[in-house]
Every structure is written in C-alpha cells, then in structure tokens.
C-alpha cells in the first residue's frame, strides 16, 4: 500500500489508528498485536504472497537471535550462529535481487547458457533484511535485552518504516514499544504527526512527482540531450529523488508519531552540504549510520589491528601519512561505499556510483587532513562565497554519482555526463522568439509551458537550498530522535496555531487534488 493513495488515507490510516488506541484501552499487548496485523495488511496489499516471505524471515531471524543470545558465553559458537543467520539473510536477498543479473552477466562471458528474467523483487526486502541483520549483529554485541516475540515482530513490521526505512536499530525502538505511555492517545501525536505527514505528502505529490516526468524523459534518451538538457535532466533527477525519499521519510516519521513512536531523522537538507562527508551525514542518515556501524568500523578496526600487530601507527596518527591514510581511510571507505552501491541494485553502474562516492569521501578526508589540518586554526574559517562554492562542488559531485545511480547502464550514464560536458552541443531558447507578437496569455503559456522544467528546477532548488527543512520547521516539536539544525527563520517555525493549521489543510487539499496520479516511491525498488 502506498502512503500517497486514497485507500491508505481514507481507509487504512483511520482504521489502524482507531484500532490501535481502542485496543490500547483494553491491553497493550492487544494494541501491539493490532499494529502487527495492520502492518501485515499494509505490506500484503501489494502482493499477499510475499507476506509469507516476510513472516518466515521474521521467524527465522528471531530464532537465530535467541540462539545467538543463548550462546553469549561461547564466542566461537556465537560467531558461527550469527554468521549462518547473516549468510542466510543475504542469500535470500541475493536470490531476489542479484541472481538473475549475475546469471545473465555470466552468460555474456559464456559461463552460463540462456537468459533469465529478473524476479519480482519483494517490496522492502532490502530494508527488512538489513534491519534484521542489524538485530543479529546487535544480539552478538550484547546490545539486545528485550526478547519478546511480539515486540520483535512489531519492530520489524511497523508499517511506517517497513518498506523504505528509516533503517531502525532494535535498541531505539524496543524501549518505545515497551513504554505504556506511548500507547495512550495524546493530542500532540496527531497534531505534530499530521503536520509532518502533510509536509512529506506535499514533497512527494507536488514536488517529486511534478518534476519526475522530466527526469524520466531525459534519462530515457540521454544521447539526445544537449548541454542544457543534460544538466536539466541531472538536476531534475537529483530533486526528484530528494523530495521523493525525504518526503517518504517525513511521512514515515509523521505516521510513527501519530502512533506515539519516534523514528530517527533520515534527511537533514543534504543539498546544503558543503562537503561530501557532510552530504552523507545528511542523506539517508540511517543507512549511513548502518553502513558505518556494520561495515566501515569492522573493516577499519581490522585494518588497525593488523597495523598494530606489525607495530605500525594507528588512528589519527596513521592517517597523517600517505600509506596510513590509504590503509585506514581509503580502504574501508571504498569497501563500504562499494557495497552501499551494490546494495542499491544489480549492475555495474551501481558499483561505480558507490566507488565514486568512496573516492569523493577519500579526497574529502584527505583535504581535511592534509590541507585544512595543516593550516593554523585561525585560517580554517571560510567566507560565505567560499562556502557557497563548496556547496556547489559537493552538489556537482552528487550529480555525477546520481548519473550512474539512475541510468539504465554505464553507456547511458556516460552519455548524460558527455552531454553535461557540452559534447552533444548547446541548445538555444528558440521558443522565446515564437512568443513575440502573441497575445499575453498565449505568449505566457508558450514560454512557461515550454520551460516548465526550468521553472520546477528553480523552485525546487530554491526550496532545497534556501528554506528550512520539515524538522527545522517543527523545531522542538520534531519527533525525530536526532535533532536537526536550528531554524534560522522565525516565521517558518511551526506552532499548533490556526494559521499553521490552515496552511496544512491547504497543502493537504492540493495533495488530494493531485493524488489520482498515484505513483510509487523511488526507494521501493531497492
């Protein structure tokens, strides 16, 4: 089921909310059970057959988690059980997500015969698999205290995050599900959750879906794009994916808040980032956190231990030499980002996307250590112009990565980048001349209608760069577990006032009027 559907808004959400708070008056376990059932209905509405896969996955990981906890006194046995569990999870993921692509890739090299159709990817499989792998690793690390089956099922299936995140940690959710206060109806849950949901819905329906056709059209034939067309396509996609995914995340946080639950922040104005390191601290934050905890740190630690055994420098001391920097920063970064790229999809372009970001992060760290770090502290501050330049450079680096992320293949990505470099020529603004001599209305429609993509880009970039994000607007009321930056604009600071309510209702009305073109979220495919 999609958040941006009438079925969800008019039937599922009211029934789920009423059932939840109604059941909580009888018993907390009944309320939790109701929420699990509602979440299974939410998931199964797309294709009920995959509910069985989700249920088996939950049961399997729960049992493996218990076994890992039981083996707490036997590290080798614990490692074996954890590894078996993680490998089984990854095997299912590989089966659905990569097997056909791998088979066909081997076929191109003559190692297999015939072609295999890509399997239907169960919705959200990457997200619920990662969530549960995290649970197993947390069990091994001794971070899991609560062992109740119902709370575990709720942790995995709770519908606002089930399909596209945020990726949650067991330890930040279970205490909330265990707290009886969270099951009591509070006005602020609806008031704040409703506002955040409407902001997210507007981002998706009005902004992301508005610019999506331009990005889709450009990426459908990148070889035909001139300089301006290629840049417009690239920026359109950057804005589409940002407003699509951050809109989804806002809706998820808003919905969770309606049920008295708080999720971690997933987006924090990433296009305002002044470096690629800053970008990843603001973009899909829960994935970055996950990758850092479960991929980057283990590799970095392994490298450090290996260096330590050889009597070499570790930590910040090691990073100050070229060899140490390569071993302790570049290797774990490329490994982590390479896998992050592959997580997004089967195809060389996803690996290139990951490696590109790994390289950018490495360069960024190198700059920080070898250039900025060697300046005296008084010279490290940059002015507004330099900061704006940094934001632009970061944004362009992100656009280059997204060319690979979105393109159908490597060739298409290169075609787009060639267009952005002007290798396919420069177009003109021919339609402006056609407007001369026309009545005002016709001339306006001709000029605006032919350049609507540019209008969208200016408007959406303006919002992304110059306005506070949803959580800054909500300020202290934001339900996000991590707090965002303070809102510099007092006018755009939310309060439960009639004025803000009218604004929210107006936005909601606009969304409902546009909702008939129900579209899926981009991150559902991952």
């Amino acid at each position: 089921m999609l958040f941006n559907s009438y079925l969800f808004l008019l039937l599922f959400l009211p029934i789920a909310l009423m059932g939840y708070y109604g059941a909580a008056r009888v018993s907390l376990r009944l309320a939790a059970l109701w929420l699990c059932l509602a979440s299974f209905v939410f998931y199964g509405w797309w294709n009920p057959q995959f509910v069985a896969l989700l249920a088996v996955s939950i049961l399997f990981n729960y049992v493996v988690g218990l076994l890992v906890l039981q083996a707490a006194g036997a590290p080798r046995r614990q490692l074996l059980i954890t590894s078996a569990g993680v490998i089984a999870d990854l095997a299912v993921l590989v089966h659905y997500k990569y097997f056909a692509a791998l088979f066909n890739f081997l076929g191109e090299w003559g190692l297999t015969h015939g072609a295999m159709d890509t399997l239907i990817l169960p919705l959200g499989i990457s997200f619920f698999t990662f969530t549960q792998i995290g649970f197993l690793l947390d069990c091994r690390s001794g971070l899991v205290k609560e062992k109740g089956f119902l709370s575990y099922v709720l942790f995995v299936t709770f519908f606002p995050h089930l399909i596209a995140g945020p990726i949650l940690h067991h330890k930040e959710m279970i205490p909330q599900f265990a707290d009886p206060a969270n099951y009591r109806f509070k006005a602020e849950n609806l008031s704040i959750g409703g506002m955040l949901f409407v902001i997210g819905l507007a981002k998706k329906v009005l902004l992301a879906d508005g610019i999506a056709p331009y990005a889709d059209a450009g990426f459908a034939a990148p070889s035909g794009l001139d300089f301006w067309g290629a840049w417009a396509t690239s920026v359109s996609y950057a804005l589409q994916i940002y407003f699509d995914f951050s809109g989804y995340s806002d809706m998820a946080l808003g919905l969770a808040k309606m049920f008295g639950i708080r999720f971690p922040l997933n987006f924090n104005s990433p296009y305002k980032a002044a470096s690629i390191v800053d970008f990843w601290a603001r973009w899909h934050i829960t994935l970055t956190r996950y990758l850092t905890s479960y991929l980057y740190y283990p590799v970095a630690m392994a490298v450090s231990r290996a260096r330590e055994r050889r009597g070499m420098a570790v930590g910040s001391l090691a990073a100050r030499t070229p060899g140490g920097f390569a071993a302790t920063i570049i290797v774990p970064t490329l490994f982590t980002m390479g896998l992050a790229g592959i997580w997004h999809g089967a195809g060389l372009q996803f690996l290139v996307f990951g490696i590109w970001h790994g390289l950018c992060l490495s360069i960024n760290h190198g700059w920080r250590i070898f250039v900025v770090g060697r300046k005296p502290p008084s010279e490290r501050h940059s002015g507004p112009a330099a900061k704006a330049l940094c934001v632009l450079i970061t944004f362009v680096a992100v656009l280059i990565g997204q060319a690979f992320f979105r393109a159908d293949g490597m060739h298409s990505a290169w075609q787009l980048l060639a267009g952005m470099m002007g290798l396919h020529g420069f177009g003109g603004l021919e339609s402006l001349s056609h407007a001369a001599g026309l009545p005002f209305g016709d001339a306006w429609r001709l000029v605006i209608g032919h350049h609507l993509q540019a209008v969208y880009i200016v408007l959406l970039l303006g919002i992304a760069w110059f306005t506070p994000n949803a959580h800054q607007i909500l300020g202290v009321h934001s339900p996000a577990i991590f707090k965002t930056l303070p809102n510099p604009n007092r006018l755009l600071r939310w309060r439960p006032s009639p004025g803000w309510l009218i604004a929210a209702l107006f936005l909601l009305a606009l969304c409902l009027a546009t909702l008939h073109k129900e579209t899926r979220f981009l991150y559902f495919q991952f």
Partner: protein
C-alpha cells in the same frame, strides 16, 4: 529544566481535533467509495486476491466525491496558468496539442524495440507470401513531423527523427512494399492533422489514402476495381472533441481554460449498392489492418474509392503497432480465398513504444535473431 518552546498537550488539542474530524470524514468517504466498487468477476476469486490484482483494482476504484470535477479543474488551471497539458500531451504553438510519444521515446523503452518490431514485420510478410497474399506497409508519419511548423520551438527527439528512415531502409532491403507518406503530407499549405487530436484530418486522410492506393494498385495487378463510391457534400461544421483534449483531462473544461475545440464538416463516403435483394458485394481482395487512423476521417473509405474496391477494415483503436495485424492474422483461417493484399497501417510513433505482451509472445515464437 523544560524547554520554553515545548507546549503542553492541551495546546495541541484544536489541531488534533481537526485531524481527527478529517480522519473520521475520510473514513466515511472511504467506506462509501468502497461500497460502490463493483469488481469484475475475474477479480473476485482467491487467485486474484493472492496475486494482488484485486487489491490493485480496489486501489484504483476508490475516488473522492467529485473526483472528475477536481481533476478537470486541476488540468484547466495548469493549462491556463502554466501552459501545462500533463505528462502525455505537450503544447506547441498556441492552440496546438502534440502527443508526447511523438516527440520523444516513452521513458523506460528499451532501445532495441524497433529492431524487434522489424523482425515481426519480416516474419509476417513471409507468412503472407506463403499464402500468396501481398503486404503493403503504411507508416503514418507523426503529427510532430508533419506539423513541425506548429511546434514553436519543441522538436522531435533525434532518435525518433531517424526511425522513419530506418524503417524505410529495412523494408526496402527486405523487398517489402512500403508507402512513404512523408512527402505526401509534409510541406502543405493546409493542415494535415487535427489541431487537438493525434489523427489526420479529412484533408490529410484524403491525401494519404490516395498515396496508399497508388502504392497498392501495382500489388493488385495495376488496374483499379469497378466498385463505385458515393460521396456526399460536406455538411455543416460540427464541434469535434480532440483525443488530446481528452487525454490532457480538459474534455469538460470551460472555453478559455483549454485549447479551442475544432469544428469539422462531416462527409459520408460509402460504396454504391445496386439495392436489389440479391445484391452481391464484390469478393474481398484488400484487408486493412490499421490503427485508429484507419477508423478516422474516412481513411478506409477514401482508400477503397481510390482502389475501386471495398476494403475489409480490421483497424482498431489502441492497437498500437501490431494490434490490428495480430487480430487479422488470428482470423486468417477465415480469410476469403479472394484476398490478395493486406495493407498494414500503423502510426510512426508506435515503433518506439514498449513491446506489448502480444508482441512479446509473437517474438518468442520466432527463431532467434541471427547476428
């Protein structure tokens, strides 16, 4: 110490109450809409529930009260204020509407679709030849190609510009007869297409039919048939709702909030009959497997008149590239022995659409392509 900006729960009561009312109203509307949904019998079974078809149908069936009016108002405001005609239609010069599929390939289309279609075309040509039936291929050029003067700065994508030549070359190489309508319809002083519709107007259809007949007659032995046709004088011009107005959601928009509706003077074109009880029609020699062009502006009737033969018209709306041809081939067991020529007509833009399920099935039955 508590944050002074954090408000007590009571401060949220008014906002929460409004959301609660909205949720309750939404639920009432949702239940009402659900009650009106009538699922087709194939969607009521367990299979349909299990594979998600019923759920999808329910999703699509639930609408707000007054949904059509909301959508029309939305489309009208977007046109009037922004010159925006939605994702499927583009505004060219003032009042001129173009189908996006004619300007650029549909997103998500694989680049090899045109080659796959040419494989189908050659295979079916061979099938017909084996039955001693000739094939004439007719690709109606896209409106964006013929009426490029009304695009006002928009342009066909280079990939689409090239596809007509590719088709013509491939057919020439394979020895398949082809009616190239570009020169016939292009560079005329009068419009060849409707302003608010993707199809040829009466003038365009008349000229196209003449050109197709010129290409078809040699395949029928060279002589025009003897069937006479009756053509009535044009009637009073009547408003005609263009399909692009419908597609952009502006069918019911008020004047000024949509491009103006065109008017067309209807004209009847029909074969002349003897009128007797045993008035036999001549044996069928020509089958037209056409797209929606074959059903508009009397294209099929003009074609019959120029051939001197009544045309067995199996054209269909929404058939895209091969819908009508597949339908005709599906009935080939019932074709009369007198059939000598199949005229397969399709719109140029359908060459670059994603393959239909029927086309994929047909392709799967062909021997693998040779490199």
């Amino acid at each position: 110490m508590s944050d002074p900006d954090v408000l007590p729960d009571s401060a949220h009561r008014m906002t929460a109450a409004v959301w609660m009312v909205l949720l309750a109203v939404g639920l009432a509307v949702g239940i009402g809409a659900l009650g009106k949904v009538e699922l087709a019998p194939p969607l009521r079974g367990l299979d349909a529930w299990l594979d998600g078809r019923t759920e999808t149908a329910l999703n699509q069936a639930i609408k707000l009260p007054g949904q059509e009016r909301i959508e029309t108002a939305n489309a009208a405001v977007r046109y009037r204020m922004l010159g925006d005609l939605g994702t499927q239609v583009a505004l060219g010069c003032p009042q001129w509407m173009f189908y996006q599929d004619g300007l650029r390939a549909q997103p998500g289309t694989q680049p090899q679709v045109q080659g796959e279609r040419l494989r189908l075309l050659k295979s079916w040509s061979e099938q017909l030849a084996a039955r001693q039936v000739r094939l004439l291929v007719v690709a109606v050029p896209d409106k964006a190609r013929i009426e490029a003067g009304h695009l006002c700065g928009r342009a066909m994508a280079p990939g689409l510009q090239a596809q007509y030549d590719t088709l013509a070359r491939a057919l020439d190489d394979s020895g398949i007869a082809f009616a190239d309508l570009r020169a016939v319809l292009g560079h005329r002083n009068e419009d060849m297409f409707f302003r608010t519709d993707v199809h040829m107007n009466p003038a365009g259809a008349r000229l196209a039919a003449q050109a197709v007949a010129r290409a078809a007659l040699p395949l029928l032995g060279g002589a025009k048939g003897e069937q006479a046709f009756e053509v009535s004088p044009p009637g009073t011009p009547q408003p005609r709702m263009g399909d692009l107005l419908v597609l952009s959601g502006l069918k019911s928009a008020p004047p000024g909030w949509r491009p103006d509706i065109e008017t067309v003077a209807e004209q009847a074109v029909a074969p002349m009959r003897g009128g007797g009880l045993l008035d036999d029609t001549p044996p069928v020699q020509v089958l037209l497997a056409g797209s929606s062009n074959g059903l508009r502006s009397h294209f099929a009737e003009w074609l019959g008149m120029d051939l001197g033969r009544e045309v067995w018209n199996l054209s269909m709306d929404g058939g895209q590239f091969s819908g009508a041809m597949l339908k005709a081939l599906g009935q080939s067991g019932q074709w009369p022995q007198t059939l000598r020529l199949v005229i397969w007509e399709f719109s140029e833009n359908t060459l670059s659409l994603p393959l239909t399920d029927d086309e994929k099935k047909a392709l799967a039955q062909l021997p693998a392509a040779r490199n």
